[in-house]
Symmetry: C2
Subunit: 235 residues, 2 copies
Amino acid sequence: MIKEIKTKLDLKCDCKSCQFQNLVFENLKDVELESLCLTKKTVSFKKGEFICKEGDPINDFHYLKSGLVKLYRTRNNKDHIITIAKPFDFVSLLTVFSDENYHYSVTALEDSEVCIIELSEVRRVIQENGSFALGIIKKMSHSSDNIIKSTTDLGSKNMRGRIAYILLYFANEVYKKDSFDLPVSRREIAELIEMTTENVIRVLSEFRKDKLLSIDGKNINILNKKMLESLSNFG
Amino acid sequence: MIKEIKTKLDLKCDCKSCQFQNLVFENLKDVELESLCLTKKTVSFKKGEFICKEGDPINDFHYLKSGLVKLYRTRNNKDHIITIAKPFDFVSLLTVFSDENYHYSVTALEDSEVCIIELSEVRRVIQENGSFALGIIKKMSHSSDNIIKSTTDLGSKNMRGRIAYILLYFANEVYKKDSFDLPVSRREIAELIEMTTENVIRVLSEFRKDKLLSIDGKNINILNKKMLESLSNFG
DNA sequence: CGCGGCTTTGATGTTCATCAAGTAAAGTGG
DNA sequence: CCACTTTACTTGATGAACATCAAAGCCGCG
C-alpha cells in the first residue's frame, strides 16, 4: 500500500505534494491519475476574486487545495451564502454534474489555490473506474448532508443562537481553536445565517458585554464556550 | 435501442411496468438489472407510515415508485421538512452513501410504493458499470441542487412570499394543475417553510379573502396565479 | 361518546428589520 | 502621499413582522 502511494508520488505532475489522492483519488490507477493530471491546472485566487460565477458554463471540476471559499447564490440583489468550503472539500462538487451552467458563485475568502481539471476527463474516469466513482458519490453525499444539516439546524434558531452556531462552526470546524480571525465580514455572516448586518453586530457586541468572547476587529476570542454551546443548542 | 429495452422488460421480476429503468437504470446491462432485481422488494406504505427513521442503520437503497413522501429532520422536538419527494425521485439518495445511519426520516404523505434494493448490490453495480455510476451522480447532483435552490429561495421571503412559493410548488411541480388537494397539514407546511401553524392558516385565509384562491379543507384552487407569482418573487 | 389532533381566529408581546447617523478603515486617483 | 470616495462597522430609535398564548369549533377514531 505504501509502495503503491509512493509510485503515484513519482509522477511528473506536481501532484506529489497534493493531498488530493489521499481522498477520492486514492482509488485511481497510475495511468488514470496521470491522464487527469495532464489536463490539470493549479490556479491561485486572491481574496475576493471569483472562482466561478452563477450562470457561467461548467467546463471544469474544481478542487480547493488551500485557502477558504464561499459558495453563494444571488437573488433579488441579495447574496445567500450556501456554505463555506475548506481545503479537501470539492468546491464544485454538487452542481457540477447537474446542469450545463453554474447555479451558484464561488469566491475566495482567503488567498486560495484551486486545482482545475477538465470535467470531461473526470467524467471519463468515473465511467472507467468504479471505485473512483463510488468515492465521488460518497463525497457528494457528505457535502450535501452537511448543507442540509446546517440549514435545518439554523432554521428554528433565534439571532443569538445563530451567531453562537456560526462562531462555533469557525472555531470547531474551520480553525480548530477558540481564537481566530473571522474570514468574513459582518455582512457575510448575515448572508450565511439569514440576518441583517446590524443585528449580527448587535449580537456580537452583546456577547462581548456578557464576556462570552472578546472582539478586536476581525479577531474573535471565545471566552465562555460552554455558554456559547448552550445558546447554540437551545436558541 | 427499442429492442434492447424490450429485452429488459421480459425479465422475471415485475420491473416490466416500472419506469425505474428509463431513468438511471437505463444504463444497466441485462445481467446487472437482473441481479439488482433479485434482491429487490416492493413495499407499500400507507399515508403516515415511516419508510425510514433518523438514526436507523442504512442497508437499502429506496426508490419511490408511486405516492408522495416527506424527508425531514427532528431537532429539539420540532420537525424540519427538508423536501418532498415525488415518484422518480430517489428518496434515499443523498444520505445513503454518506454514513452508516440515516440522518433524516422519511414518511409517506400519500399511500406510496417503494422499491427497496440492497445497498451492497447497488454499490457493486456502481463499481462495475461506469455509466450507471454517472447516472447516479447526476441524479444526486440534481436533488442536491433543488434543495439548495429552495432553501436559498425561501431564505429572504416574508410569510406571504413563502406561502405563495409553496403553493406554486404544489401546483407546478407536484400536481401540474391549479386545483389540488394539499398532501400536507397546515403544520407540515409550517415545518417546510419555517413558520408557525397559526401563521400558515392566517396567510391562507388572507389569500382567500383577497380572492387569490379558494379553500375547502385540504383542497386549494388557485384563482389568481399571476398575483401569487409576484408575491412569491417579490416577497 | 369523548379524546386527541387539526383547524381557525383574536389578543398580546417579543423579536427582528428598517431607517438614520456617525465613526473607522480601506481603497482610488490626482 | 494626501484628499476623496467608498465600504465596513457601530449604536440608537422606531415600527412592522412574526411567535406565542388562549379559546373554541371541527372531525375522525377507538
